[in-house]
Symmetry: C2
Subunit: 414 residues, 2 copies
């Protein structure tokens, strides 16, 4: 394996080890489904080697390529955008059924499709989400151990560091990823164990409070987010239904739960831009009434945002609410990654669309009316966007109306 990369590949080795040992926690004989763009092969290869060292059965890659995606947007006929590889996604669902672990390495340029027709991008995305639903449901229901980590793709790096040349930008993004992913230390696996203890402490405190709702206030935001009946807070390491404790996101700084799809009201302003399907959406402002977005605008990429809301009925309602202090290392780095895996860990956020049933007591098997009765939302999409800022104040509201300070001045109140 030879790489000519403008950054320290010893840290790539450490990241691969952390992904396999802590992120996935691959079990003896378990097979691994490994996705990512071909550009990320330097990390994908290392993850595969670490997985085999950990006793994995077979690691099966399905690699993507930005140019192939772009070629379709540029050249495919309109009606051809409704095509999707249902056979592949049904296969992936079967793999999860057969207890395969899932690993994804994010490396794509968040702006890859910025110059494409948003209506065409949305049409293709909708067909893809629909076909992917059986597999996605198993991830959303946390049936198997899975993890997403990142590799510093060059086009992505140039987006994040536009003033640097390509090599310097890739090196800077690599450093930011290694730091945020807590692998720039002597023993990343131990550092992650410690970090997971701290996230568990926050999670357990929130679960003990049994809040009925959270009230967010910051400049442009005054939003009350009701929580689903029997909601559970999650954060950091968690046990999948196959019994394996994994860290689904590397990095992660959030504790999160399932909001009540009918009990969200007020207004929210995004505190950071959102990169969605290759388009930058900035200056989002929305109004919620009875859980549903009734007004929406954006100062940039508005059409892409409106298309997202029109995906299905559930795309206008919340599927997640997450708390991240402004003091989080990713927030303090000041780097805007244009990638939700990182940016959501720099600020409190909400997600439009599908909820995580793992964040509901006995929620695993719930769908349709039974899920809706608890306040759980269903949708083809799940899109996080950031509302937390340095002035964010959050109160927890108990069923009797009592208020408990949760965040003050952007950080945990305690």
């Amino acid at each position: 394996m030879s790489d000519a990369l403008p950054f320290d590949t010893a840290l790539l080795d450490k990241l691969a080890e952390a992904v396999v040992r802590t992120g996935l926690n691959v079990s003896e004989g378990q097979n691994v489904f490994l996705t990512g763009s071909a550009e990320a092969l330097p990390l994908i290869r290392r993850v595969a080697r670490e997985a085999y060292k950990a006793g994995a059965g077979i690691v099966v890659p399905v690699l993507s390529d930005e140019d192939l995606t772009r070629a379709r947007m540029e050249l495919a006929r309109d009606e051809a955008l409704d095509a999707a590889p249902a056979w592949l996604y049904q296969g992936v669902a079967q793999a999860f059924e057969d207890n395969w672990a899932r690993c994804h390495i994010a490396a794509d340029n968040p702006m890859a499709l910025a110059d494409q027709d948003p209506a065409r991008v949305a049409r293709a995305a909708r067909a893809n989400s629909k076909a992917y639903k059986p597999a996605m449901a198993k991830i959303a229901n946390f049936e198997i151990n899975w993890s997403i980590a990142a590799y510093p793709g060059r086009a992505w790096a140039e987006q994040v560091f536009p003033d640097l040349d390509a090599d310097a930008a890739q090196a800077a993004l690599a450093q930011a990823i290694f730091k945020a992913s807590r692998v720039d230390v002597e023993d990343p696996v131990a550092a992650w164990a410690e970090h997971n203890v701290e996230l568990a402490r926050r999670r357990d405190w929130l679960n003990a409070q049994r809040f009925d709702a959270l009230h967010f206030r910051s400049e442009g935001t005054d939003l009350t987010v009701g929580l689903a009946d029997g909601h559970l807070w999650a954060g950091g390491a968690a046990e999948a239904k196959n019994g394996i404790v994994c860290n689904p996101n590397m990095p992660t700084e959030e504790v999160f739960t399932t909001p009540h799809k009918m009990r969200v009201s007020g207004r929210a302003r995004a505190s950071k831009p959102l990169a969605y399907q290759g388009t930058l959406i900035d200056g989002i402002e929305v109004v919620f009434e009875d859980g549903r977005i009734t007004e929406a605008r954006a100062s940039r990429g508005e059409q892409a945002f409106l298309n997202l809301l029109d995906t299905d009925e559930g795309a206008r309602r919340l599927g997640e609410v997450a708390l991240v202090p402004h003091a989080s290392p990713i927030s303090q780095s000041g780097v805007l990654f244009y990638n939700t895996l990182f940016d959501e860990n720099a600020a409190c956020h909400i997600a439009l669309g599908n909820c995580y049933t793992e964040c509901l007591e006995d929620g695993g098997a719930l769908t349709g009316d039974a899920l809706a009765a608890r306040g759980g939302n269903e949708s083809l999409v799940h899109v996080d966007w950031m509302i937390g800022a340095k002035d964010t104040e959050i109160d927890g509201i108990a069923a009797d109306g009592t208020r408990v300070p949760v965040f003050r001045g952007g950080n945990w109140a305690d």
Copy 2:
């Protein structure tokens, strides 16, 4: 799309166009399953673009990587070598069921696994072939249009041209591929149409003869190959069962048919080395009795060859016999490609293993006893190896024993 490649990418454009228009002949709205190693992306991207221009629905890539394959051979535990992605291959079979076209771009280093334990390589290959069988059967039965073409991978190029530096070797292999694939001309699609007419003329002559057997003689070879009952000769463009006329191999110089699995006798010596699963097998000599190989040796890679023969009962019997004149352009180039797609088109060859039911009258639905009754062979493998040389003489033997000269001095007798 930017490439820094040491050869003329205009010919890569022409190859992509020939693959899509002539090789696959993608039909309006048809989806395409596109495989190959990530290294071949410069051609894979061009094939995808040409496919979209031709009206394809969606082109879905599943890319491989030699290092990932090698990592498994080096690191996976022995029992883990029995794992295979059945869910992926069942998906691929479903894709063919749904009329997806199949395109493969070959670029791999034929020696990639030469330093690995042949028993481990064979164990993994066997598990993979078994899982792949449902999809492979649909290719073998020619249910959909498919095509294989080649891209000059660097490690492959260094194997073919060991005396050149990496760039020069890749350029030399590129030139050899473009020439053999008939795209180094003004209008490759027209050149292929002409070539297909010539192959059809040979095919039709052989079909009119209704030979009972062929008798091959050359140095080290004296082999009588009985032909299956109701065998059909094929070559060049052919119509798949979905009604689409395609060229499954680019290049192709052969006319071929299905031998009788019980009626092959005599001895055969390979005239070229065979690269099989990353191992070079040279100096093959075998003895057939009643269709079955009863003695086998090789001067290099013998264990890999013996493992191949032990795959299953059908791996010791023939599934194909093919005629290629010594005057073929690939033979005349003098290049040994270490890749069957090319080397089989430089010489007459036989294939161990599974037969093509398309080469039997009304053979499409035949399996098991019904297929065996006609002489058709079944196996998990299909491996071609070359027996043709400059001194090859072939007689066609009619049912009444009459002999007709087919090849003299390595070339067509007429």
